[in-house]
């Protein structure tokens, strides 16, 4: 019986101003590729919602097999409102940029026993006992912390790319 545990509260970035949508998408994609995540995109929506601009929505669920027992899942939900493309001169160079507001929500879960090896009720109870009581610190240090700070790293890279004031990451 596999079961999933959230590692942290979702990280929320909201921004209103000028940004580069293609760049944000490429950065996230590159980050997952560098860490060898299997990239999956459940949703890619682009609709003309209002005269102010389009509404663009992504829902990505990359995952990685850590070992025979553990799998990391990351969920990225992005929603861009009033999205408009226009040409701007940045540093003497003409470039396409976007205007509008958006939010990016990052969350992560750890899936235990994804191969469903623990099937009988006794095995399920044993699994739960092992993960929740006996080996809880081991899993916390080895996997929960790693995934948490990986996610903070992605958040910091996104903030740096968007040129937000809070781009610094001490952790």
């Amino acid at each position: 019986m596999s079961f999933e545990e959230p590692v942290m509260a979702p990280l929320d970035i909201r921004y209103k101003g000028i940004y580069d949508l293609d760049g944000i998408y490429k950065l996230m994609r590159q980050w997952f590729d560098d860490r060898k995540y299997d990239f999956m995109e459940n949703l890619y929506k682009d609709k003309v919602a209002s005269p102010f601009g389009n509404e663009v929505e992504h829902n990505m669920t990359p995952e990685i097999l850590v070992n025979d027992f553990i799998k990391f899942h990351i969920q990225v939900i992005t929603k861009f409102y009033d999205y408009k493309d226009f040409e701007a001169e940045i540093g003497g160079e003409k470039k396409m940029v976007s205007d509008g507001r958006f939010f990016i929500k990052l969350s992560a879960t750890i899936e235990f026993d994804y191969q469903n090896r623990f099937k009988t009720p006794f095995q399920k109870k044993l699994l739960f006992f092992l993960i929740k009581t006996l080996l809880v610190r081991y899993y916390e240090f080895k996997y929960y912390d790693k995934l948490t700070y990986d996610l903070y790293d992605l958040q910091a890279k996104l903030k740096k790319f968007i040129k937000m004031e809070s781009e610094y990451n001490a952790y």
Binding site: A9, D12, R14, K16, G17, E165, S166, Y168, A170, Y171
Partner: protein, 166 residues
Amino acid sequence: MPEIRNLTYGESFIYKGLINVKELYALIDKWFKDHGYEKNELWNFEEVYEDGKQITLKIEPYRKISDYAKITIRMTVHLRKLQEVVVEKKDLKLKLMKGDARFVFDTFIVTDYEGHWETKPFYFFVKTIAEKFLYKSYIDRYEEVLLRDKEMIKRELKSFLNMQRF
């Protein structure tokens, strides 16, 4: 459900003037890391309006003092009407922000944060008795640590913003 003991609520200070927002954020992040707090960022909003930039930040770093209790400082930072200004300092041109800032601090101790002592009524009863009589001095000791930490970060921020300190 873990039990939350609120120590201070809504303590705040306001500042108006020049701010180096990037360094301010770095200072907060670094301070909590150096003092053994885990990062927990709840909000990070940045919006550009006609009258300037608006930044809202809500962080809730925590420090686990044991498997049973953790201390938390919730800090909310509101930066409003931020306008970029160039300041000349020792023949160097610095890009800073000018605007209003508001810092709000809440502190609390969370006990039984893993929820082990709330699975059965008897466990809950034992937990309450232990917390009231056996474990009291232990938890109270960390109240002082938490309040001291809160005062330290406040002093650090005031010193960074060049405010009057008492």
